[in-house]
Symmetry: C2
């Protein structure tokens, strides 16, 4: 399938970890299957954190194993440290993302490690990857890259330093995460340019939150700056438990609509995507599901990109 951009669905990980309820494994599988059937090329299906900390992710290995049976899907998982990486490799993930928070305070709150200690976890994870037969990709997800709810402004020099350190430690790629939604289009372009100057096309994508309503504008800015991989979450679920108020990933449905209407091919079928939303609504009848296009329907002039 020809795509101009790759949208990576993070709802089953970033979305579910924020909800109070636990989605039954069978419902997770049905949701992931529906997302894959709609054309999502990659799904971050779970997080390999201790089940005691996040009971929502207790079935991580089973979910990865199931996702691996979907033939077209690139199966991604989050691991907060090398121990999690080991579990993700064992489960069969194609790609493992380690959160490397640029904000010292957020990093301590989120993974109880400093940014530099997280670089060491990436180094250990890369060794595990090298020793494994499957050799999954390792991505460093630079959290709070555009601002932190605890520290406020985050130094751009730190973003660049940690991106370089992550690649040096063995990460295959770096993503920039606006964990707190504090980015703006100008800042997005500036940080992308600064990071790319040092690590080139090892900078692959952005993970955006819609906290202050700039999610799509920031995605547009990142696209114009040359990035082609975008995390998003169906119905805009998600947030970060250690970034208070920072709720809501960019809504997959709206992001697909924006790109397709612009003539940028996502490879995703918006109608089929609604089946995933239906499963979500059934599993969480009391959770708000976000998105403009799902609420109002497609406009009369809509044509998917060709």
């Amino acid at each position: 399938m020809n795509r101009d951009v790759e949208i990576s669905e993070v709802g089953p990980r970033d979305g579910l970890q924020m909800l109070k309820g636990i989605m039954p494994t069978s419902a997770k599988k049905a949701w992931i299957a529906a997302l894959a059937a709609a054309g999502l090329p990659e799904i971050e299906v779970c997080s390999f954190v201790p089940p005691k900390l996040l009971p929502q992710m207790a079935d991580a290995a089973e979910v990865v194993a199931y996702a691996r049976t979907l033939p077209t899907l690139h199966v991604a998982a989050l691991a907060p440290n090398a121990k999690g990486t080991a579990r993700a490799i064992e489960a069969g993930a194609h790609k493992i993302t380690l959160p490397l928070s640029v904000s010292h305070s957020h990093s301590l709150a989120n993974v109880r490690k400093t940014p530099n200690e997280m670089v060491e976890e990436i180094r250990e994870s890369a060794k595990l990857r090298d020793a494994s037969p499957s050799k999954p990709g390792i991505e460093a997800g630079l959290s709070t890259a555009f601002g932190c709810t605890i520290e406020g402004t985050v130094a751009e020099s730190e973003v660049v330093r940690l991106a370089v350190a992550a690649i040096a430690a063995g990460a295959d790629e770096v993503g920039l995460a606006d964990t707190t939604g504090m980015a703006n289009p100008q800042k997005i372009k500036q940080v992308i340019a600064n990071v790319r100057r040092e690590i080139g096309d090892r900078l692959t994508g952005v993970h955006l939150h819609n906290t202050f309503g700039l999610g799509l504008a920031n995605a547009l800015a990142a696209y114009e700056a040359g990035l082609r991989t975008f995390d998003a979450s169906q119905a805009g679920l998600g947030g970060c438990p250690y970034a208070p108020g920072a709720t809501g990933n960019v809504v997959t449905e709206d992001l697909v609509y924006m790109f397709e209407s612009m003539g940028v091919r996502t490879g995703i079928d918006l109608e089929k995507l609604m089946e995933g939303r239906r499963i979500l609504a059934e599993a969480f009848p009391n959770e708000p599901l976000y998105g403009y296009v799902p609420a109002i329907g497609l406009p009369k002039n809509y044509r998917p990109a060709a």
Copy 2:
């Protein structure tokens, strides 16, 4: 005051015309005063339509007269035809916008005239302007410039033709209105380039709706394409009675936030803008007020553009 962009508040016209209730004149005045005090340089305060058709606008002349007492404010009004222009001139408006719908069907539904007949209304209006002592500016607002809920796709050649015709008929400037929210960033840039090729800097601004969630992304695209005037509506009120489902202007609060956070000066104080919102909430306790920034507050790293 130094501004990089000019945000024109259309809530008192585009917002109020869509609501079932009628805002008392005294509340309108208080709202307009609060908006001006927050730094809005221009407000479209009313529409000079027959009160029988839009009872919400029966006090148009009184509202213009009041707005004219606010020293910094550029007072704009909408007029659906030359008769309305005459009333707007008499009331003392600084600027009069005539809706020139690119979609034949929408034009007939909205003002019971074809686009070509509306060009004649602009010509008559320009004559009235020339004969008046105050000589207010005349803007042609090209409605449905990016798509129509009745006709679907709108021909770009028609947008260009009508922009040229409006200027030839005596309009001082042309604005592009995405009445139905069907624009996308790529289309915005393309149409702006096409229109500007013919009428240059007589194309001044865009009027965007957030129907499909692309309002801010489209504003960003228009800014990047070189436009510097943006309509917006406090709390995202607004729509078009003859464009079903097309509700919600770009939210003033969020647009100001986007620009200011990017370092683009609007001259508008976001905190003071909340006073206008309070007045609105009091007048319409049952209407939904939109906006991300008003709901969650400003982020910790926020600094207005300097």
